[in-house]
């Protein structure tokens, strides 16, 4: 069946079986490779995408569930002011090691900052449940808190 949604700002139309998962549609039909398969069971967060601005694990979402919705991956946030600050903060802090969890965590942090949910390290720990095995999270939290405070002082949120 045809499912129509907005991917990174552009309308897309895909012909999918109703049982197709969003991650498969994104990776195979729409060639979005930043969405990673870490566990396929909704546990690790590497497959996180934003649906109408909220982070979800695309590995356990069916594509039919995003009919008419706005789906965002990191490819679509390049150029976005909040994302740029966040990405820059990650790079400068050294919060990126192997990079596999990075897109998922960036999206989650982005949504948390944009929605005003993440201000402090405690908030960041509460909202970022994604798994990372390399960094021990310390620099990730540091980078997110720094970006959140920059965004707030710039008056954008």
């Amino acid at each position: 069946m045809i499912v129509k949604f907005i991917l990174n700002g552009k309308p897309v139309e895909v012909d999918v079986s109703p049982r197709e998962t969003l991650i498969n549609t994104l990776r195979f039909k729409l060639r979005v490779k930043s969405v990673k398969r870490g566990c396929e069971r909704g546990e690790c967060g590497s497959c996180t995408v934003l649906v109408n601005g909220n982070p979800v694990t695309s590995c356990i979402l069916l594509t039919i569930q995003v009919e008419g919705a706005e789906v965002t991956t990191v490819e679509g946030l390049v150029g976005d002011e909040i994302f740029e600050r966040l990405a820059k903060s990650f790079i400068e802090t050294g919060a990126v090691q192997c990079g596999f969890c990075t897109p998922g965590i960036l999206l989650t942090a982005y949504a948390g900052i944009k929605q005003g949910r993440i201000k402090s390290a405690e908030d960041a720990k509460e909202y970022i449940g994604n798994l990372c095995r390399c960094t021990g999270y310390v620099k990730i939290i540091e980078a997110v808190v720094k970006a959140a405070s920059e965004v707030r002082s710039s008056g954008r949120v």
């Binding site: 069946m1 079986s17 109703p18 049982r19 197709e20 998962t21 498969n24 398969r37 396929e40 069971r41 909704g42 967060g45 996180t48 649906v51 909220n54 982070p55 979800v56 694990t57 356990i60 979402l61 069916l62 039919i64 569930q65 009919e67 989650t108 948390g112 720990k125 909202y127 970022i128 449940g129 994604n130």
Partner: protein
């Protein structure tokens, strides 16, 4: 496995009537809301139904309404929506407390209250506050609609009182009469970050004329279904609240539970935590009483 096998046919319900029609006609069908439990089971092969009836697109089942004595919550309301709702925070704060400890943000954005209780895991998070509030589950079918008291809803591990053809459309959570009561929720997991509960306890306590006039305690992960700790409740009703009374009553929870040992925890620990968290929840709830 990376995908739901092709032997499973997913049908998209156009509206509620369509969903009910499908549910009544199809053998071996599961209803899917957010899918956070079901899709995992379909991909791992734990469940292999012939059909999945997807109702997640039915916006008419997503709402939170206050009729002055109860909250009417559409079955497709997500856990995050419950967590963010002001009316839930003020009328049924225990629901909010449970939603706050539910999995992690990505899952909360998709998982629904209806889906969580219909999956009927012994560890079902949302079952616990609903048992405390003595909620009603509205089950609709082509034949009509009925209200199932939550206490009759959970029949066994992943078994509910729903008959074939029935779909849960709404959960009614009464709050009238609980004004001034105190509530508490404790969930034990293996990590501090998102986890399935090893044991969780929720309670509500009301005090009148210096004695406990109403007390409701519910637990999950310590029995084949989420349960009300009636032994504890009986021991507390009508009593003057004190540390001794609470401690003695909490120990009785052992009569209401039958924990098992599994990969997550040994039974003895679960039983111990059930006693401990029951006590702590009661104490905290009493402290909140106004």
């Amino acid at each position: 496995m990376y995908a739901i096998p092709s032997s499973v046919e997913v049908l998209v319900a156009r509206d509620l009537r369509d969903a009910l029609k499908l549910a009544s006609e199809l053998e071996d069908a599961r209803v899917m809301a957010g899918g956070t439990d079901l899709v995992v089971d379909l991909k791992t092969g734990r469940l292999r139904p012939r059909y999945v009836i997807y109702i997640g697109g039915l916006r008419e089942l997503k709402y939170i309404r206050d009729d002055g004595s109860s909250l009417h919550i559409g079955a497709l309301t997500t856990i995050q929506e419950l967590l963010d709702s002001e009316v839930v925070a003020s009328r049924t704060p225990l629901l909010r407390a449970v939603a706050e400890k539910f999995a992690y943000w990505q899952i909360r954005n998709v998982a629904t209250i209806g889906g969580n209780i219909c999956n009927a895991s012994p560890a079902a998070d949302m079952a616990v506050p609903l048992l405390v509030y003595e909620a009603f589950i509205r089950a609709e079918s082509v034949e009509g609609s009925r209200l199932i008291p939550v206490r009759e809803f959970f029949k066994g591990p992943r078994q509910t009182a729903l008959r074939r053809g029935e779909i849960v459309t709404e959960i009614i959570v009464p709050y009238r009469g609980l004004e001034g009561s105190g509530y508490a929720y404790f969930k034990a997991g293996r990590r501090r970050g998102h986890d399935i509960s090893l044991v969780a306890v929720a309670c509500v306590v009301k005090v009148g004329d210096g004695v406990i006039s109403d007390v409701r305690v519910a637990l999950n992960s310590v029995a084949p279904t989420p349960v009300r700790a009636t032994s504890v409740e009986r021991a507390l009703t009508g009593k003057k609240p004190s540390l001794e009374v609470i401690e003695e009553a909490s120990k009785l929870v052992v009569h209401d539970i039958s924990p098992i040992s599994d990969v997550r925890a040994p039974a003895e620990y679960r039983a111990y935590m059930a006693r401990l968290l029951t006590r702590e929840a009661l104490l905290e709830a009493l402290a909140r009483v106004r």
